[in-house]
């Protein structure tokens, strides 16, 4: 049984209720904040001044070949190995079921010799079909953004910088379609990685670093190919533009089951986030300095949202409304600046007057104002997951737990066909998670266990069938003749010890919006600029505005949130 300890013993903190926080549409409106994983990673890289040098750069003029970067931290040496190849346009796909890519990569422990390179060369480009070993920490791939790649090269070859309006539409040159870690395909397990590789011992740190390196290589590649095409006239990308170029990402349903399979982890991340906000509200008060920062950040966030280009009408509308509301909020703050005595007033004002998207934007901005005040909470992001049965618990206690923590689940009417119209399943194509409709699709007999609400309901109904006089029996006795309930019972028991519990949603509903799950997790990664392509997958941008590898060693202010269009040659944030 996992040893639970409260994240904080500070009982003064005005933590928001799980009823508010765990609502799925709200979770899908979260913005990145200072403790997002990308930010945690880059603080480490910049503050510890990691050295990142290309040790092998065997590319032809078109940028095809092999590259190895060696990364030296205060603790260890790693290698980032890239295989870049010519890919016909017809084979380029964002889907996880794709078979070939423009670039395949791996992050490894230690230095690379020829034998090791040969081994990686034989396996990394195969991705899921290859086998790597436990010295590999991350396996990933990326494709060119067809819109931007050739355009950027063309500009640079002709001695010009690319037009920022064009870059703003698609803020990257390459786009990842999967980033694997945690023991997949023979790689190092998470427990091994966090013991051996302290530099990446935070959640998804190695994966985020891999994305950072793809971004770095994509920028170097642009310069390289432009020079190869026009050695006499080409120029290199301006640093300000480079910082504005991130790495694209396509995230689909593959990410969704993670949030349901790891509820302890998700609840912990949310608790860290909520603790950050509650601390600020409890211990910080508005003053000239903080109000000034808030104003700047609101304007920056508004500009950032205004600059997002997406074909998705709903997202455009959401962004526009958020811009309007956050500007209204700014007017309110300015009007109240002499009398605003605490941040709770701002939170209350937002919750009464603005939509959820804006409320969460304001919360994120507030955490940016006081980023240094919450950085210590970074150490709380790791948690050991353990969903063990507590066999001694009395059945009536289990029933009370359900009534207290799963009231939301008991409200769904699962007798209505629309409540169970959707089912989740794994496809034989790379086990890709997909959604089916009960009324038209086959495969429901193989559905994944994605509906916690329904299963809690079933468990609760079976408990209610037991006569009251028998509810003092232990859970062990109850489950003995009901093995199908074991997994949900241990989940209920375990999550009952967390502050925030489960994501509140019926994921079998006919109108389920999986995109909220994706956005929730992506916000913890630090991802922004969402471009939903459907209800089931979203393009987004990572590390836009982030420092460059060439910025390592310069003063670092960690203020690259809400990236906006630069003026050329702008200094780093």
């Amino acid at each position: 049984m996992a040893e639970f300890k409260p994240l904080t013993n500070d009982t003064n903190l005005p933590m928001r209720s799980p009823n508010i926080v765990m609502d799925l549409p709200r979770l899908g409106s979260l913005y990145p904040y200072p403790l997002s994983f990308m930010r945690c990673l880059l603080r480490r890289v910049m503050n510890e001044m990691w050295k990142i040098n290309g040790t092998i750069f065997n590319l032809d003029e078109e940028g095809f070949g092999e590259v190895v970067y060696e990364i030296t931290t205060p603790n260890a040496v790693y290698s980032y190995v890239i295989f870049s190849k010519k890919l016909p346009d017809s084979k380029r796909s964002d889907r996880v079921i794709a078979e070939d890519w423009d670039m395949t990569v791996t992050l490894c422990e230690g230095q690379i010799d020829q034998n090791r390179l040969e081994f990686l060369r034989s396996n990394v480009p195969l991705q899921e079909k290859g086998r790597v070993d436990s010295k590999c920490l991350v396996l990933s791939r990326a494709n060119k953004s067809m819109r931007n790649f050739e355009y950027v090269i063309d500009c640079l070859s002709n001695g010009k910088q690319p037009d920022l309006d064009r870059i703003a539409k698609v803020g990257y040159i390459f786009r990842t379609t999967a980033v694997y870690g945690s023991g997949k395909f023979g790689m190092s397990d998470w427990d091994n990685l966090r013991n051996k590789c302290i530099d990446f011992a935070k959640p998804f740190s190695a994966e985020m670093f891999s994305c950072f390196m793809i971004r770095h290589f994509s920028l170097e590649l642009a310069n390289w190919v432009a020079k190869g095409r026009s050695p006499d006239t080409s120029v290199e990308l301006d640093d300000g533009i480079k910082r504005y170029i991130g790495i694209g990402n396509a995230t689909g349903l593959g990410m969704a089951p993670y949030l349901i399979k790891h509820p302890m982890l998700i609840a912990n991340w949310i608790e860290v986030r909520e603790t950050s906000l509650a601390r600020i509200i409890q211990y910080k008060s508005p003053d000239n300095d903080s109000l000034g920062k808030l104003e700047c950040l609101i304007m920056k966030a508004a500009q950032h949202l205004d600059e997002i280009s997406t074909d998705n009408l709903e997202q455009n509308e959401l962004n526009k409304r958020a811009v309007h509301e956050v500007n209204e909020c700014l007017k309110w703050i300015k009007a109240k600046s002499e009398t605003l005595v605490n941040w709770q007033e701002l939170i209350n004002h937002a919750s009464h007057n603005y939509r959820v998207e804006t409320q969460e934007l304001i919360n994120a901005i507030l955490t940016e104002v006081y980023a240094k005040f919450i950085l210590d909470l970074e150490s709380e992001l790791n948690i050991d997951e353990n969903y063990r049965m507590q066999p001694m618990m009395k059945l009536n206690k289990l029933k009370s737990l359900i009534e207290k923590n799963y009231k939301w689940a008991l409200k769904y009417d699962f007798t209505k066909s629309s409540s169970t119209e959707t089912f989740w399943y794994r496809s034989e194509e790379k086990q890709e998670p997909r959604l089916g409709k009960k009324s038209i699709d086959t495969g429901i007999e193989k559905e994944m266990m994605m509906c916690i609400a329904r299963d809690v309901r079933s468990c609760f109904d079976e408990i209610c069938d037991i006569e009251d006089s028998n509810t003092s029996i232990t859970v062990a006795h109850f489950a003995f003749s009901r093995p199908h309930l074991r997994y949900i019972i241990r989940r209920i028991q375990t999550m009952g010890l967390t502050q925030y519990g489960e994501i509140v949603a019926n994921l079998l509903d006919a109108d389920v919006l999986p995109i909220h799950l994706l956005r929730c997790k992506l916000s913890f990664f630090g991802v922004g600029k969402f471009d939903p392509r459907s209800k089931k997958w979203v393009r987004n941008t990572m590390f836009q505005g982030a420092p460059l590898v060439s910025d390592i060693g310069n003063e670092y202010n960690d203020t690259w949130c809400f990236p906006i269009r630069p003026k050329c040659s702008e200094k780093p944030n």
Binding site: K184, D189, P391, T474, A476, F480
Partner: protein
């Protein structure tokens, strides 16, 4: 004839040498899918997977044992155990010939529950197979307050409260399987192992685990393929229509 024997031996040797290195996460995920494929959602397939994973990752050849038993597990799937007979601290469970891969967790948790209430509980398990599954569950769950003592015709074992590493002794002549749990170790009759040195101690299992965590687990490619064949039964055939189910 000798040539044939040699040929078979060499073939066997090369088959044994065909090993694949897999991570802990991969094995756990694979085992979960295997048990889900066999038992559906009628049993806690994740716990079953944890049981076999514990055995494999602590040097007890969990996957080999599972592979041997697969035909039987497939044949006798959904046996629901009858209510145990409970007389003071002695619980008797008739497993009706079922495998303890499916039922180890139910039985151990019942023992824990009774031992917590009464100070001690002795579970006598009859008509059961695959008693090492109990070891796998006891090791993986690592009960913090109870000592556990297991006697079977395959092995005997003792686990201290909070320990992940049971001390494993030789098999008893006991025809039944007995599991005794207690808050107080001195209440447990461990006369069978008294004075004996464990055949497998904590340090061996710990070393095995740590090395496997670092380098991966080596299992036979043949077994890996067999397990994947079963695991793939939970996958739904892909069609153009189903590709839309991931969003276009």
């Amino acid at each position: 004839m000798n040539t044939m024997i040699l040929g078979v031996f060499l073939l066997g040797l090369s088959a044994v040498k065909n090993l694949i290195n897999i991570s802990f996460n991969e094995l756990l995920s694979l085992l979960s899918r295997v048990f889900e494929a066999i038992y559906g959602h009628e049993h806690d397939f994740q716990e079953m997977a944890q049981t076999v994973f514990w055995l494999e990752s602590h040097g007890h050849s969990g996957t080999n044992k599972l592979i041997e038993k697969l035909p039987e597990l497939e044949a006798i799937k959904n046996i629901y155990l009858p209510a145990p007979s409970i007389m003071k601290e002695v619980i008797t469970i008739d497993c009706l010939g079922a495998s303890l891969f499916a039922n180890a967790s139910l039985i151990c948790d019942l023992a824990f529950s009774e031992a917590e209430n009464n100070g001690i509980a002795k579970v006598i398990i009859t008509n059961a197979k695959d008693s090492y599954a109990l070891l796998g569950y006891l090791g993986s769950v690592c009960n913090k307050s109870l000592s556990s003592y297991l006697l079977t015709d395959k092995l005997s074992a003792f686990i201290s409260p909070g320990s992940r590493y049971p001390l494993i002794y030789s098999a008893s002549s006991c025809k039944k399987i007995e599991l005794t749990c207690s808050k107080n170790k001195s209440l447990i009759d461990m006369s069978f192992i008294e004075g004996l040195d464990p055949e497998i101690d904590e340090s061996k299992q710990k070393s095995f685990y740590e090395l496997a965590l670092k380098n991966g687990l080596s299992i036979s490619t043949l077994n890996y393929e067999k397990l994947n064949l079963i695991a793939d039964r939970i996958l739904v055939p892909s069609t153009d229509a189903s590709r839309l189910g991931a969003g276009e």
